[in-house]
Amino acid sequence: MTLRTAKKYPLLTVTLAAVTVCLILASAGMGYVGISAVEVVRVVLAKLTGNLSLLEGVDQVVPFVVMEVRLPRILTAALVGAGLAMSGVIFQGILLNPLADPYTLGISSGAAFGASLALLANLTLLGQFSVPLFAFAGAVLTLIVVLYLSSFNGQMSANTLILSGVIVGAILAAGLSFLKYLADEQVAVIIFWLMGSFASRTWSDVGLVTLAVTGGTLVSMFYARDLNIMSLGSRSSDSLGVETGRVRRILLLTASLVAAVCVSVSGIIGFIGLIVPHLMRFLVGPDNRKLLPISIFAGASLLLLADTFTRAVLPAEVPIGVLTALIGGPFFCVIFRKRQRGLSYD
């Protein structure tokens, strides 16, 4: 049942990268003000090179719409998609479970709890960064607790990690409900943040996610072959020369930080980190050296496509987290049934 296209892999990756770029250009032209792809390119080039003659004949409002309204949102969406897909690949590889995703370890619950706390307390001491920072802190603290719970004698197994994540996630979910209960009239703010959105993102968001995704890509590609070998179990990978414990900690930390940054700028967006690695593994096989790059581009394209759909196609904007869950949920069910019937292709 595996459809491997190992020889076509470079072509596939380049194609997906090109698709991502085209989507970014097309999406920047879509919306209340229609702008052609040529104009988008001219605006971006004018901004990058400082050559204002490129803007001749372009409506004055266009540069503002493209550079200040749409591109920050579009790039944030693409980068968050890339980041979530990348951390999905890493979590599935480490937890030896093709159904794991960035949220399995309770990272999302931690971030949601942190963000809700900031929203509830109406914290403004850090300005616009209060909510993202609290979300990030929540995610990191959760990771620390989960790692502490799951290590024993300096070792940890995939199963204890998942179990610890589920336990901590459940406690945090209860805490979150309590916060909502306390929030009274402010509960709407919390709920909207939790549903996820890319509306009114800024260039500083783009910068932050770029940093996280670039760093994450470098670290995960460096350890990609080790991650392949770790799928044989820790006794095997130890005896094959992989520093399993150390590599596992580094990769867990990397994937969690990337996921935390993504969640902190966008709210809770599920299923991208689950579906994209799954689909891509179906296409190129389980080798993480191929799986990581292709998943990064596929995640970027998919989330951007979903965000553009809700922003520019639907008559009213549906929260992106709701949309991905509505598409991703049924997909998850299909995967689950296929596994049950022994038709698994992972």
């Binding site: 094959l240 020369g241 593994r281 080798d287 992972d346």
Partner: protein, 263 residues
């Protein structure tokens, strides 16, 4: 091979929580021999192998390999000298048989380098020796238990180490494949002076293939010595609590054990 080239363990203690797995264990194993470790379930055999590979660190005592503490080796260096065939092999993802055997070359490959022609030749030889080359392109997660086990043995062979540790490497195999793998291991010892340290449940298999047998019970070594001298009903009764006779097997001209089945 000298004594210095092998393993020396002194005063090893290891516990899982309140359960003591190894207690004040002393053992030395030189290179160039086929060792069999036998003992009842839960007597610490697998833990002992993990101590040898440095996968577990003893709470007390010292483990040295080739005159150096095992914990002072980089994993990569140790894995060029000691290979392990584990008992449990989780293979969650659809790598092909060839890809998994190629992972045995990991200790020799640079981080971003592609496998060399030499690596591929060694992988081919390892698959041929175990007789799995005809399903090299199949996915490991679709293989039977016995097929998976043979893939893992081939992977260990591809590591080209002087020491091979087998943790019940033939427990899932039929008699034909069991003998095939045991004979590959025996040839490595006889023809290439390599060392095999195998945890074996089947005492007659151990009697047939091992140069030395190590009896373990409750985390301690009960007795260790050349197979022909050590194998007698008294120690088997002591370690396993069963009645038996040790007799010359006329077909193979070696000592084999007959058990009293009914009490």
């Amino acid at each position: 091979m000298t004594e210095k080239s092998g393993f020396v363990l002194e005063g090893i203690d290891y516990a899982y929580g309140p359960t003591q797995a190894l207690q004040n264990l002393d053992l030395s194993m030189a290179g160039g021999k086929f060792y069999g470790i036998v003992g009842p379930n839960g007597c610490g055999k697998s833990t002992l192998l993990d101590i040898l590979t440095g996968c577990k660190l003893p709470a007390q005592g010292t483990v040295s390999f080739a005159g150096r503490s095992v914990s002072s080796y980089r994993r990569r260096d140790l894995s060029r000298q000691v290979a392990l065939v584990p008992q449990d092999f989780a293979i969650g993802f659809a790598f092909t048989v060839q890809e998994v055997v190629l992972m045995g070359r990991n200790p020799y490959m640079q981080r971003f380098a592609a496998p060399t022609a030499d690596d591929m030749r060694i992988v081919d030889e390892a698959m041929a020796a175990i007789g799995i080359d005809h399903f090299r392109d199949r996915f490991v997660n679709e293989l039977s238990g016995g097929e998976k086990q043979r893939v893992v043995v081939a992977r260990a062979l591809a590591q080209r180490t002087h020491f091979l540790l087998f943790d019940e490497a033939t427990s899932n195999l039929d008699v034909q494949h069991t003998l095939q793998i045991m004979n590959v291991a025996r040839d490595l010892v006889r023809k290439q002076e390599k060392t095999v340290i195998a945890v074996i449940h089947n005492l007659n298999l151990a009697a047939a293939f091992c140069d030395e047998i190590i009896f373990m019970k409750k985390g301690r070594i009960v007795k260790k010595g050349p197979t022909g001298e050590i194998l007698e009903p008294g120690i088997i009764k002591n370690v396993f609590g069963v009645e038996c006779k040790v007799q010359k097997d006329l077909f193979n001209d070696i000592h084999q054990i007959s058990f009293r089945y009914w009490s």
